[in-house]
Amino acid sequence: MNLLKKTQYGLAFILLPLSGFCQSESIKSGSSYFSNALFLTLFITIILLAILIVALGGAFKNIADSDYLINKFKKDEESNTNSTKIVATLLLFVSSFSMFSQNTVAGLKDDGRIGGLDSFTFYFMIALVALELIVLALMLFQFNVLIRTSKTVKEVPKRESTIMQSLVGAVAVEEEDSILLEHDYDGIRELDNDLPPWWKYGFYLTIVVSVVYMLHFHVLGTGDLQLKEYENDIAEAKLAVDEYMKNSANNVDETTVKLLTEQSDLETGKDIFISNCAACHGRAGEGSVGPNLADNYWLHGGSIQDVFKSVKYGWVENGMKSWKEDLSPMQIAQISSFIKSLKGTNPPNPKAAQGDLYTEGEATTQDSTRAQTMAQHTGADTLGTSKQ
């Protein structure tokens, strides 16, 4: 059958790059890719779609094998060109796809990562999914055309392929009288077909998996339950962050922070301020829900170290949240420096001054509540802080 061979060629063309891709990935850095959820999802999608395509190909084969289609092709030569068309389109897509993938290879230098994947892998996989979808759509369309054009032909009962039959474990349609039960409910009869073997063994498999799962987590205790999983995750992340911070300009805290005066730092600080702080402190720091930041008065100390500390840990009981989970130390230094630069700008609609007058150069505040509040801060540390 011409059509069948051509379809298979088309399939081979699609699946070939896929398999090559899988191999190259597993050689390079298999485990890290497979721990990426996006990769995994795309990968599974690709496999599922490929299975669908193969299944549909099988259905094509079934139809192609059936007698009535042969009759049809004898009578109707037009659809032969139809089938060439689909294969031609398939090839076209495959070739355009390979061109596309070359393009992305060229663009590999780009550092942007998407969902934890390098952009090449991401686009490659998206392209594969898109290609498979297009092929599926084409096949479905063709399928429809096939069925439709066969309408005119006298229908001869079609025979299922042996693969299909062994898959469902069923008695062939034309012999089903032998297993027709005598039940008759309002004209509905029932066959006594056996359970499809893949279904039956699949069911057994899920039961075995379930037993193993329960043993693993709750009897043998070899699996980590969720709190243990959480602790591991936190510890791992801490290691990674510490490692990164060792070699980073970001390595500032409230004891080492210095007032930044570079224009670029203040600009960045301003941008962060507008998007995160302005809702409560006003766009120009004039204060609204939160206190005025453009005057000389400070509730919690006005030195750069104090401001840094206030932003970093917050004053949760007064409604100022902690920003250390949202902003990097460098960003906090930038905002704090920007805030310090607001002094004397006299923005419109200022909120009344609160707190103590601060004179530049004065030592870090020594108020008696500090020790106590720091203790609270440590408490807040273990609880983690918010970001909304």
Binding site: A37, E176, F203, V241, K321
Partner: protein, 708 residues
């Protein structure tokens, strides 16, 4: 053998069919409005009644209980009579059933819009309606069993097994989950609290899907699909195994809605493994449906009803494979709280339930009106518009859910969260728009169908009297020795019902009883105290406005969540939460540790206009909370009810509760005044602020006393 003549009751079938169509349109429209409000919050017209938190329950209740519910009854009343060769047991019961059910729907719509809700998803209706539902459901069962007893067919067909399982299980689920203590005529508190309430609610919620959206529709499939295809059912043995396996396993899977929450680990694991084991029994139904069409695929081409059925069964297969995958803890960690879940349920709802209903209507209406469908072309158009609608709905939601989840979990190398919650919200807008386009298409298809069916009805004449004849059953039945063993129970409807009840009761009992009896499942925390009267009033406002439809109150033990929201939630924190408010979707951020995060004035301004405090917010405005007065008179009754539920208020506290409430309200008002906001202490906003400021504060700097 002497033949008995009898007539089928087609009138009730017709009425249920009409109700299905009408409520389908209403429910889908409500869904569309809710979908648009997600990017256009002002579509609520600044009215409390049309705000998302109230429209969403209207949508879910309407499509599940009104659209699908009437669809079930339509199909059952039609098929049951024919499968049993008997008229429905009692015309009066049929009438009470029909009008009772419509009354429930109307009452539901009115009360939900008015904010009368229990705050438990898919079980929002208040206690008087709960009782009414129970009564009408009993009428349905009575009518069904009466018919079964008077049958002229010795054995019960597989469709009827599913109907019977549906009847007993829904009754059990509804009664157990709705145990609540009334405070007033339209207000009650759930009997259960926190973790237990969550377990029971999701045992109910999950099995509402199983026994309201799945088993009855499988029954309908077993009747209408072979009927339309005129083919014998593929495998009788498969029917038996997948029926019993399905109803037994389904019940256990509820906790998969609560993975990584404070529910005990063992219960979560049961939820996981039973969901995995469900794949095969679920697919058994799909296989038996699709393989029944072996050798009859050409009929699918010509019969538009069958076309709908094929897509429905396929969607069922997809959704029931995806479900177990979502129940794996690692997948749930990504998908829970996102639009992925919304996509998943809509593949089931639009594909399986919607298309099955449409397919049956296209076949049934012409039959009832003794004519041909007005336009095959239009029905085909409906098929394609509907399919496209489902795709356009599902694909953006899958994408959105996955994207939002990834953004929530992203950290910078310095160890900070990469995205503000708001960033992840604004990124969703295009997907929400695309989804509403999909929904519009789907609704447009349904409108087209309605027109087509009206035209059909107008052209035909209703077959009021449909006669049939069959021999009466004789008492002296002797079983064939070579019969399948299962034939025995097919002759015994009562035994079948009792056995079904036993099979479905096991899973629930094993999962609940330990959480009630074994203390280590919910370690107590000494610092967790009952809500103050003002906070309780605020909590009731939170429930009334349906805040739980967009905000969760359950922080999972993930680095990305504790960094964003604070310490993960503990089981002991929820012991006074009647009902629990963990939520299932984070359109907005989690609120479990909202208390103390912002000043009172922030909340005041935020309720008046959310965008003033968080630019880009898609939360609707709640100006009426600033105007409306707290219902102080109810305070005493509420405290009393809570005491009866075991919340340890001091003796006689209900008498001083009101003055306590006023005292706290005055403090908040004074606090607001400091920030230049003038408000009266008896306004609802004050109570709501009190509640929000309390959330999650109890265990700050406290240790769990009984750590596992």
């Amino acid at each position: 053998m002497e033949l008995e003549k009898f007539q089928y009751d087609n009138k009730t079938v017709k009425m249920f069919a009409y109700a299905t169509i009408v409520w389908g349109l209403v429910g889908m429209l409500a869904g569309l409005i809710a979908a648009i409000q997600l990017y256009l919050p002002s579509l609520n017209l600044s009215l409390p009644y049309t705000t998302f938190g109230r429209v969403r329950p209207v949508h879910t209740n309407a499509v599940i209980f009104a659209f699908v519910g009437n669809g079930i009854f339509m199909g059952v009343y039609y098929s049951l009579q024919r499968l049993l060769k008997a008229r429905m047991f009692s015309d009066l019961l049929s009438k009470i059933h029909f009008w009772g059910w419509q009354l429930i729907i109307v009452l539901a719509a009115i009360t939900l819009v008015l904010g009368k809700t229990t705050g438990k998803e898919y079980a929002e209706l208040e206690w008087p309606i709960d009782i009414l539902i129970t009564l009408v459901w009993v009428v349905f069962g009575w009518n069904m069993f009466g018919t079964i007893i008077r049958r002229r067919e010795r054995h019960l067909y597989v469709a009827i097994w599913f109907y019977i399982a549906t009847f007993v299980t829904v009754a059990m689920l509804h009664i157990v989950n709705s145990v609540e203590i009334p405070v007033s005529f339209w207000k009650s508190y759930s009997w259960y609290a926190g973790v237990q309430d969550a377990l029971i609610q999701w045992w109910y919620g999950h099995n509402a899907v199983a026994f309201f959206l799945t088993t009855p529709y499988l029954g309908l499939m077993y009747y209408f699909l072979p009927k339309m295809a005129q083919r014998p059912v593929y495998s009788y043995r498969l029917s038996i195994i997948h029926f019993w396996a399905l109803i037994f396993l389904y019940i256990w899977a509820g906790p998969h809605h609560l993975l990584y929450t404070s529910v005990p680990d063992w219960a979560q694991s049961l939820g996981v493994v039973f969901s995995v084991m469900l794949i095969a029994p679920s697919w058994g139904g799909m296989i038996n449906g699709l393989l029944t069409l072996r050798g009859a695929w050409d009929k699918v081409r010509d019969n538009v009803g069958l076309k709908f059925l094929v897509v429905a069964v396929t969607a069922y297969g997809m959704a029931t494979f995806e479900g177990p995958m979502l129940s794996l803890k690692s997948v749930s960690a990504i998908a829970h709280y996102t639009d992925w879940i919304v996509a998943h349920v809509h593949v089931g709802a639009l594909g399986w339930n919607g298309f099955m209903t449409f397919g049956i209507l296209y076949w049934l209406i012409p039959k009832l009106f003794q004519t041909k469908l007005y336009s095959q072309k239009m029905a085909n158009a409906h098929f394609w518009i509907g399919t496209l609608g489902i795709l356009l709905y599902a694909v953006p939601m899958y994408w959105a859910g996955f994207m939002q989840s990834s953004m929530w979990k992203d950290f910078t190398p310095e160890g900070q969260l990469k995205w503000q919650f708001m960033d992840t919200v604004t990124k969703m807008i295009p997907f929400y728009i695309a989804r509403s386009v999909g929904g519009t298409l789907y609704l447009a298809g349904a409108v087209l169908m309605t027109y087509n069916l009206i035209k059909t009805i107008k052209a035909g004449s209703f077959l009021e009297v449909e006669e049939d004849e069959a021999p009466a059953l004789k008492g002296d039945y002797v079983a064939h020795s070579k019969d399948h063993w299962h034939r025995w129970i097919e002759r015994k409807p009562i035994q079948l019902m009792v056995l079904s009840l036993i099979v479905v009761a096991i899973g629930g009992i094993i999962e609940f009883v330990p959480t009630f009896l074994v203390k280590s499942n919910i370690p107590t925390i000494a610092s967790v105290k009952p809500y103050t009267p003002l906070e309780l009033q605020g909590r009731d406002i939170y429930v009334r406005e349906g805040c739980y439809t967009c905000h969760s109150q359950m922080i999972r033990p993930f680095r990305s969540e504790t960094a964003r929201y604070g310490e993960y939630s503990k089981a002991g924190e929820f012991v006074y939460d009647h009902p629990f408010q963990w939520g299932s979707k984070r359109t907005g951020p989690d609120l479990a540790r909202e208390g103390g995060k912002y000043p009172d004035s922030w909340h005041y301004n935020h309720m008046l206009d959310p965008t003033s405090m968080s630019p880009g917010s898609i939360m609707p405005q709640y100006p009426w909370l600033l105007e409306d007065q707290i219902d102080g008179n109810s305070t005493m009754a509420k405290i009393k009810a809570m005491k009866r539920l075991g919340v340890p208020y001091p003796d006689g506290y209900e008498k001083i509760a009101l003055s306590d409430m006023e005292k706290q309200a005055n403090e908040i008002t004074a606090n607001l005044k400091k920030d230049g906001i003038e408000t009266l202490p008896d306004r609802e906003i004050v109570a709501l602020i009190a509640y929000l400021q309390r959330l999650g504060k109890d265990i700050k700097s406290e240790k769990v006393t009984d750590k596992k």
